[in-house]
């Protein structure tokens, strides 16, 4: 994989909730912009590009059991507005099929969307510097840069979410004092459910200090892992992207170099009214 999907239940509510809010806002804006520009005829294209990315994620590059994402390819084909929509769709379908987190659809969409938009922008910048004949190379370089940036984004998200979550505050079981009390022997109402409890930790108890300083998610270790394994994934993704973009640039250059909104494409007459 070119990046790690954040699993459910690790990040605090405020973070993944904000991810959802921001994603929904961006998707709504992108949808409205697309409709204003009469991109209704692009609905099937959004569907197939999202499907293409999903198919790519299911295909393993033998023998590494690594899967690619084609996010930069998708971004190049669709441009920034439609990329936001497709990023969202891909994450939703992945979550539905158990391949990605559900609460983190928002954050994962932001990362995927950033890959697509950044990939598009960097590709066009590099093509203008390197020439159209080097479209494959431009796409490869754009992919490496994009993935490096979005991996950093990912680490940033984990850093934001990794602080402040302690075992005691989150109601976690502590194996040190795991017990199996019988509610009927001690009496349910005497447990202290409604009275605030009899078993508050003594605040002068040194053990309380220990619990208060429970370690949080190790962002440093996480960053070390992703920055160590990540470049291999970036390289593979870059090679595949360069190969695909180079191939398509030779066979159908308008698709890659002008994007999905190239004028030369066949337009369906009668669509200009914005939906019939």
């Amino acid at each position: 994989m070119s990046h790690i999907h954040i699993p459910d239940g690790v990040l605090p509510l405020w973070l993944w909730g904000a991810g959802w809010l921001l994603t929904l806002a961006l998707v709504v804006i992108a949808g409205k912009v697309a409709e204003r520009h009469e991109m209704r005829r692009k609905v099937p294209l959004l569907g197939v590009i999202a499907a293409l990315m999903l198919v790519a994620m299911s295909s393993e590059i033998v023998p590494l059991a690594y899967h690619i994402n084609l996010t930069v390819v998708g971004g190049i084909l669709l441009g920034p507005v439609l990329s936001v929509i497709v990023a969202f769709i891909v994450q939703v379908v992945l979550a539905l099929l158990g391949h990605g987190g559900v609460t983190v659809i928002g954050l994962n969409t932001l990362i995927t969307g950033a890959e697509m938009v950044l990939g598009w922008a960097l590709f066009h910048m590099l093509v203008s510097m390197l020439s159209r004949r080097r479209a494959g190379l431009a796409a490869g370089i754009a992919t490496v840069l994009t993935l490096a940036l979005t991996t950093t984004m990912l680490v940033g998200i984990v850093w934001l979410g990794g602080s402040g979550a302690t075992g005691r505050e989150t109601g976690a079981l502590d194996p040190a004092d795991l017990k199996f009390e019988n509610p009927f022997a001690t009496g349910v109402f005497s447990v202290g459910l409604f009275s605030g409890g009899e078993e508050h930790a003594d605040e002068t108890d040194p053990a309380a200090d220990e619990h208060a300083q429970e370690p949080t998610l190790s962002v440093g270790r996480f960053a070390a892992v992703v920055y160590t394994l990540g470049p291999l994934g970036w390289l593979i993704e870059a090679l595949v992207t360069a190969g695909i973009v180079g191939y398509v640039a030779r066979v159908r250059p308008t698709l890659i170099l002008s994007g999905a909104l190239a004028e030369k494409q066949r337009r369906i007459p009668g669509d200009e009214a914005g939906g019939l």
């Binding site: 308008t254 007459p269 009668g270 019939l276």
Partner: protein, 299 residues
């Protein structure tokens, strides 16, 4: 009566559109249409005018690349003619598709791509649902369409898992669900076994008898005599070279050969017989008629 033949005489252009009066019962007219593709190739559907009238079953024949599908796409308003006239129900379909779309049913060549829903019933109900009909009305129409195609037992199946022939029947049911006045079919017999082909032929005959116009492009030459009342033959460069009843069309061996079209087996048989013996009977395109003619000839 000989088939109409023309190569250059009927060259209508867009400027003369208003001069072409529709014939009685005219449903479709395609007249000297030109279309250029992005890769620089172009198709010039000139020669004879293509005309389809109410209740006709018309076959469009021609070699690969002649422009059969291009013509069908113009009829469906998916392409706009750069030159020439396309008229369906009296209007240009590329300009006024919403006005006529409910009257047209379509089955394109690749039925895998035509199926849009997760179950057969959902797919057949796609069009009425998009047109805003109530769920009760949709259900009624779906039942009728499935019964017409004899595929009620496929109602809850996943289309993706069906055989090619079954998918074609589902696509056909989806085209018939709105009871169209014009049916446009691209290779309707592809993937069908002989029994299904016979069923389809019978269905098209009944639809035509009820006033539905059928326009189909096909490579299945042997089916044409049974499935079509009228045929148009396109040459390799797209011009419409020949039109007439199947008997008339299949007797024009030279034009068929130029278009790389093999006539039906029976037509070819009779042509060879007449080459050896001018007293051999006229071509009969049905098996029963052919047997009768041969027995009579034998004395």
């Amino acid at each position: 009566m000989t088939a109409d033949r023309n190569v250059a005489a009927h060259n209508h252009t867009h400027e003369h559109a208003h001069e072409i009066e529709p014939v009685p019962g005219e449903i479709v007219r395609v007249s000297c249409v030109r279309h250029s593709y992005d890769d620089g190739t172009s198709v010039h559907l000139c020669g004879l005018d293509f005309v389809a009238t109410r209740g006709q079953r018309i076959a469009v024949l021609g070699p690969n690349g002649a422009g059969k599908t291009t013509m069908l796409y113009h009829i469906l308003g998916l392409l706009r003619a750069q030159e020439g006239i396309v008229r369906v129900f009296g209007v240009d379909p590329s300009e006024e598709w919403p006005a006529i779309r409910k009257r047209i049913g379509v089955v394109l060549q690749n039925v895998d791509e035509q199926i849009l829903a997760p179950t057969v019933a959902d797919d057949v109900g796609f069009s009425p649902r998009q047109y805003g009909l109530s769920e009760a009305e949709v259900a009624l129409r779906v039942d009728r369409a499935l019964a017409l195609m004899g595929i009620e037992e496929l109602r809850d199946r996943v289309p993706h898992n069906l055989s090619g022939g079954e998918k074609r029947k589902v696509a056909m049911a989806g085209a018939l669900v709105m009871e169209p006045e014009l049916l446009v079919l691209d290779e309707p017999f592809e993937g069908l076994d002989p029994a299904a082909r016979t069923m389809m032929g019978k269905l098209l005959r009944e639809l035509a008898a009820g006033g539905t116009t059928v326009v189909m492009s096909t490579h299945d030459i042997d089916s044409v005599p049974e499935m079509a009342d009228y045929a148009y033959v396109m040459g390799p460069d797209g011009h419409i070279a020949l039109s007439g009843t199947p008997a008339e069309v299949f007797s024009s061996a030279d034009i068929l050969a130029a278009g790389n079209i093999r006539p039906p087996v029976l037509a070819e048989l009779f042509m060879r017989l007449r080459q050896s013996d001018p007293d051999a009977p006229e071509p009969a395109l049905g098996v029963a008629e052919a047997a009768e003619a041969l027995l009579k000839w034998r004395g």
